[in-house]
């Protein structure tokens, strides 16, 4: 089996995640979409590492996984904080940055 | 291929049988500690048919689903809860060559799969749509996040000493000296491991998630019949699995004179199981904040320091680096 199916699978997964991030109303839902996108990236990295016989890709997957965990922890801390203050996690209502 | 499937099937049944009788062992043990007799009537004189009777009783009970439950989640929860508990046995070597798959990342596989259990637990708590169940699941998340980290860290100490993630290699490295007898490091790590084990099994004194007097029966309060049986089975299977891990990591697995390897192994696992049970029936429950504080303020720093010390020790030439 070639590398191509893996890359295409990752691309589809990435776009599903992108779709989720673009359309979800709930901040947590958006985070879930981001997780999917990152996951797609990991699939790419591991697949390419396998086919290029270079562990660099695996090392970087390790990095992305651990960074994602940290990101989720902080991201959700922010979500909870927003909820505490504004009693909502609807992304539509979170427009304090509005110009 | 067919051989593997067959082996898996046999293993599954053996494990389930052992676990079924573990409940019996625990009940008898607890009864002795409290000067009672324990199960007695079914299968006189020692009540040795009691687990079978229990299983049959639960199987023929009516399956109740709460009206407001999140049905698919509620129904799937026991299975999701049970699966990881059974999967962890895939990598456990019972004796040299006796085991399904002796992965070269065995211990990591064990830790990873057993961490999935929380998903099933939470599905049950959430799906029941019951405030006790949900509170219990919340507490479980708190506690398991807190104790997962020290648990992994203590499990890494034997890994460092043996220089391998492969469970059979870790056991082989203990030829001559079990890691529990390793000077200083071994004992401290073992104590930390037992504490983290008790917490990860949600046993007294860390059983806040099913604290009967507060939460009725915790996340499984709405379950009955077969599903309840599955949850119980999963819990005891997990306990047995962790006991096996402890036997592998610290007590030298199948190593021992005279008896065949698998017998030694099971005895050691039983020993850890009884140790935990002994703690369970001896202590009182402590508060949620105390449990979390113990994990983050005492256990985690202590195990991290221990891990660092082990690292230095190994770097200086101790250990069995391959």
């Amino acid at each position: 089996m070639g590398l191509q199916p893996y890359l295409i699978l990752a691309a589809v997964l990435f776009c599903i995640g992108l779709f989720g991030v673009l359309t979800r109303r709930n901040a947590i839902g958006i985070l879930l979409g981001i997780e999917l996108m990152l996951n797609a990236v990991n699939v790419n990295l591991v697949a390419i590492a396998r086919y290029a016989a270079d562990p660099a890709g695996l090392v970087f997957t390790l990095f992305t996984i651990s960074i994602t965990v940290a990101e989720v922890a902080v991201g959700l801390a922010i979500v909870i904080l927003i909820f505490r203050v504004r009693r909502t996690v609807e992304a539509d209502h979170l427009n304090l940055l509005k110009g | 291929m067919m051989r593997d499937v067959l082996a898996a099937f046999v293993l599954l049944n053996v494990v389930v049988l052992i676990v079924t009788y573990l409940t019996y062992v625990e009940r008898k043990f607890a009864a002795r500690m409290q000067s009672r007799i324990g199960p007695y009537r079914v299968g006189r004189p020692h009540g040795w048919l009691q687990p079978i009777a229990d299983a049959i009783k639960l199987l023929i009970k009516e399956d109740i689903v709460p009206a407001l439950a999140d049905r698919p989640v509620y129904n799937l929860a026991p299975i999701v809860f049970l699966l990881p508990s059974l999967l962890i046995f895939a990598t456990i070597p019972f004796a040299p060559g006796l085991g399904l798959a002796d992965l070269n990342i065995g211990i990591l596989f064990f830790l990873a799969v057993s961490s999935l259990e929380i998903v099933g637990l939470f599905m049950g708590g959430w799906g029941s749509n019951n405030k006790y169940a949900l509170l219990s699941a919340m507490r479980a998340v708190n506690q398991i996040i807190s104790y997962e980290v020290p648990f992994v860290v203590t499990a890494l100490i034997p890994v460092l000493l043996a220089g391998s993630l492969k469970l059979s290699t870790i056991v082989q490295a203990q030829e001559g000296l079990w890691f529990v007898a390793y000077p200083v490091i071994g004992q401290l790590a073992f104590v930390a491991f037992i504490v983290a084990t008790i917490a990860s099994e949600n046993r007294v004194p860390f059983d806040i998630l099913e604290a009967e007097s507060e939460l009725v029966a915790g996340f499984r309060v709405e379950y009955s019949g077969m599903k309840f049986a599955l949850i119980q089975l999963a819990e005891y299977t997990h306990m047995f699995g962790v006991s096996c891990l402890g036997a592998l990591l610290f007590l030298g697995g199948w190593l021992g004179p005279g008896l065949p390897g698998w017998a030694w192994f099971l005895l050691k696992a039983l020993f850890i199981f009884l140790l935990v049970t002994w703690v369970r029936w001896s202590f009182v429950r402590i508060r949620v904040d105390q449990i979390l504080g113990l994990s983050w303020k005492v256990l985690l720093p202590a195990t991290l320091v221990l891990l660092m010390a082990t690292g230095f020790w190994v770097a200086l030439g101790g250990g069995h680096v391959a």
């Binding site: 991030v21 673009l22 359309t23 979800r24 979170l94 304090l96 940055l97 509005k98 110009g99 | -």
Partner: protein, 611 residues
């Protein structure tokens, strides 16, 4: 026999262990005296290791022992190594450092008995850190590691000068010491990095080998060595960066004895000694070192004449003696300079500890508030006298031989003018030191209270150092004056004569009052005033700061306020109008921005089709 590397590591590790224990185990630290005992025990162990190392060194077949571990792994080999490098210089220096540290810590137990327990614990934690850092500096096997320890001792110096941080002068002095030495350190690290860029290594052994084989690229080496020397200028308080050392006397006296007399300030000299094979490649820098050293010696000696604070006199004499060492190094007499470093370490620590005993007994630093103390504190008087004689360079004390060797070395090195400065300094040194001795111990006047000799825990170190100061000298006197002094035969009588003249002059002025000090001051009024004002150097630095920097800031401020702001205001007016139109794009919803990201991604992909 334990091998040298292990011993060196033990000497290094013990104080570090003590420091970590004291830093981590708070109850132990707060216990005060227990912390002190631990720290003293650790550094005592270091001393033992150092002594064994010194006695058994050099081992058969190797005159340097190097242990190295690679550090900072990178593609294409490790970037640097850490390790210990022991040779005869390091071994001797190690003994000095461990010895003085040990004695001073012991002494501190008595000197600081009035401190609260937590403060005492903190003091000893710093001391342990200092001992570790200084030993690490001595044993460093490469420039990078040396720099790290160099900064660590600087940090300890800062912490210990500011030990009484509630006292504003102490806090200010700590900061001043920190910044002034940092100015030198900046040069040091620049030099190291440039050297690395040139030679590709930090390691001493490799660099010396390259210097030996003439493979060291010489282009720009003068600049590099000058920059490295700047570090030594800051640490060893050479002109013009000497201003921090007198102020550093705000710290506890044992600290002054240890850090600002015997060990840390000598680190600069040690650095030059250590890197001497490299300095040899750049004779112009060496000449500069010689001149600056001699000038520092003379300048500090004149400043020492007018101080009323006993510790400040000693501080200036430290600067002066460091100048001697540097001058010797500059003239090529490495052995003499290093020898003086050792003897000076002993007798200056002795002097400071003696001064500390006096201060402890009298409760003031001002020499005019003391007097006739010899009767009350005979032991202190005797040891102080021993130290003073050594510092003045009187036969047969240790200072005589080392100073003699330096004078001979500088003369032989052909630096005539620096030689004259140093010779004059000999006279001045004897004069101002005996000024202190006569005023404090013999002349009229009386101290308040009932001063008495210090307790054994303080007296022990004093007598030990006094014995060593005298003993080393006698050893040399018997042994024939050392090998270094091979200058003309008239140098020894000259320096001895100058020193004796200085003592006699001081005796006339301050004991017999045959010469009036006031009249002397009037005669050389400009010089007297200048010395009182520290030759306006501190004022100059302050003035530079106030005049140049603040003036520049004012100009910059004006430019900023009117020219730049004018442009900015103009730009902002346009931006505001533009922004008002653009703000509609900014909805504040993260997802709308993500559309932008997605479009960007699309653009990148489409663009890549053509490439």
């Amino acid at each position: 026999m334990i091998d040298a590397g292990t011993l060196a590591l033990a000497a290094l590790g013990l104080p570090f262990g003590a420091f970590v224990l004291l830093a981590v185990v708070a109850p132990l630290r707060r216990a005060g005296r227990a912390a002190g005992a631990l720290s003293v025990a650790a550094v005592g162990g270091s001393l033992l290791a150092a002594l064994i190392l010194w006695r058994t060194f050099p081992e058969a077949g190797a005159d340097t022992v190097e242990l190295a571990w690679s550090w900072l792994p990178a593609e294409g080999g490790a970037l640097a190594t850490v390790g210990v490098l022991v040779d005869s210089v390091a071994a001797v220096m190690l003994v000095l450092v461990a010895l003085v540290s040990f004695l001073v810590q012991l002494y501190s137990l008595g000197y600081l008995e009035d401190e609260t327990a937590p403060a005492l614990g903190r003091y000893f934690a710093y001391h342990s850190l200092f001992a570790f850092s200084m030993i690490g500096l001595v044993l460093a096997s490469n420039f990078l590691q040396m720099f790290i320890f160099w900064e660590l001792v600087g940090l300890c110096s800062y912490l210990l000068i500011g030990f009484w941080y509630a006292k504003p002068e102490a806090a200010r002095a700590a900061v001043k010491a920190f910044w002034v030495t940092k100015a030198g350190d900046l040069g040091f690290i620049l030099g190291i990095v440039l050297l690395w860029a040139q030679a590709g290594t930090f390691g001493f052994s490799e660099l010396f080998k390259m210097a030996d084989d003439k493979t060291l690229p010489l282009g720009g080496l003068s600049l590099i060595m000058f920059l490295i020397y700047l570090g030594a200028v800051g640490k060893s308080a050479q002109f013009p960066l000497h201003v921090w050392l007198p102020d550093a006397m705000e710290g506890p006296t044992p600290v002054s004895a240890l850090i600002h007399a015997a060990t840390m300030v000598a680190a600069g000299v040690y650095l030059v000694t250590r890197a001497y094979p490299l300095f040899l490649q750049t004779p112009d820098v060496l000449v500069l070192i010689g001149w600056v050293g001699a000038f520092s010696a003379l300048l500090a000696a004149t400043l020492g004449l007018v101080q009323a604070d006993i510790k400040r006199v000693l501080a200036y004499s430290t600067v002066s003696q460091l100048g001697y060492m540097m001058a010797a190094l500059g003239a090529g007499a490495v052995g003499a300079g290093f020898f003086h470093l050792l003897t000076h370490g002993l007798f200056k620590a002795l002097l400071f500890l003696g001064a500390g005993a006096v201060i402890h007994a009298v409760g003031t630093n001002d020499i005019w508030k003391m007097g006739r103390l010899f009767g009350a504190m005979p032991q202190t008087g005797i040891v102080f006298l021993v130290g003073t004689l050594a510092l003045a360079g009187i036969w047969p004390f240790a200072g005589f031989f080392s100073k003699d060797a330096i004078l001979a070395g500088v003369w032989e090195g052909g630096l005539t003018v620096p030689f004259l400065m140093l010779a004059l300094t000999v006279f001045l040194t004897a004069f101002y030191m005996f000024r202190v001795v006569f005023v404090v111990f013999f002349a009229t006047g009386h101290a308040e209270g009932h001063p008495h000799d210090p307790p054994l825990v303080m007296g022990g170190p004093l007598w030990t150092l006094a014995g060593l100061t005298a003993g080393v000298g006698i050893l040399f006197a018997v042994g024939g004056g050392g090998e270094e002094a091979h200058g003309p035969s008239w140098i020894s009588p000259l320096s001895l004569g100058l020193a004796l003249a200085g003592i006699a002059f001081a005796w006339l002025t301050y004991q017999r009052r045959a010469v009036s000090a006031e009249m002397l001051a009037r005669r050389v009024r400009p010089l007297y005033v200048a010395a009182l004002r520290k030759f306006w150097l501190d004022d100059l630095y302050g003035g530079i700061y106030r005049g140049v920097i603040l003036g520049l800031s004012w100009v910059v401020g004006w430019v900023d306020r009117y020219l730049v702001d004018g442009l900015v205001n103009l730009a902002s007016a346009w931006t505001m109008r533009g922004g008002d139109r653009l703000r509609r794009i900014q909805t504040g919803r993260a997802q709308d921005y993500l559309y932008g990201v997605a479009f960007g991604l699309l653009l990148v992909i489409v663009w890549s089709y053509w490439h």
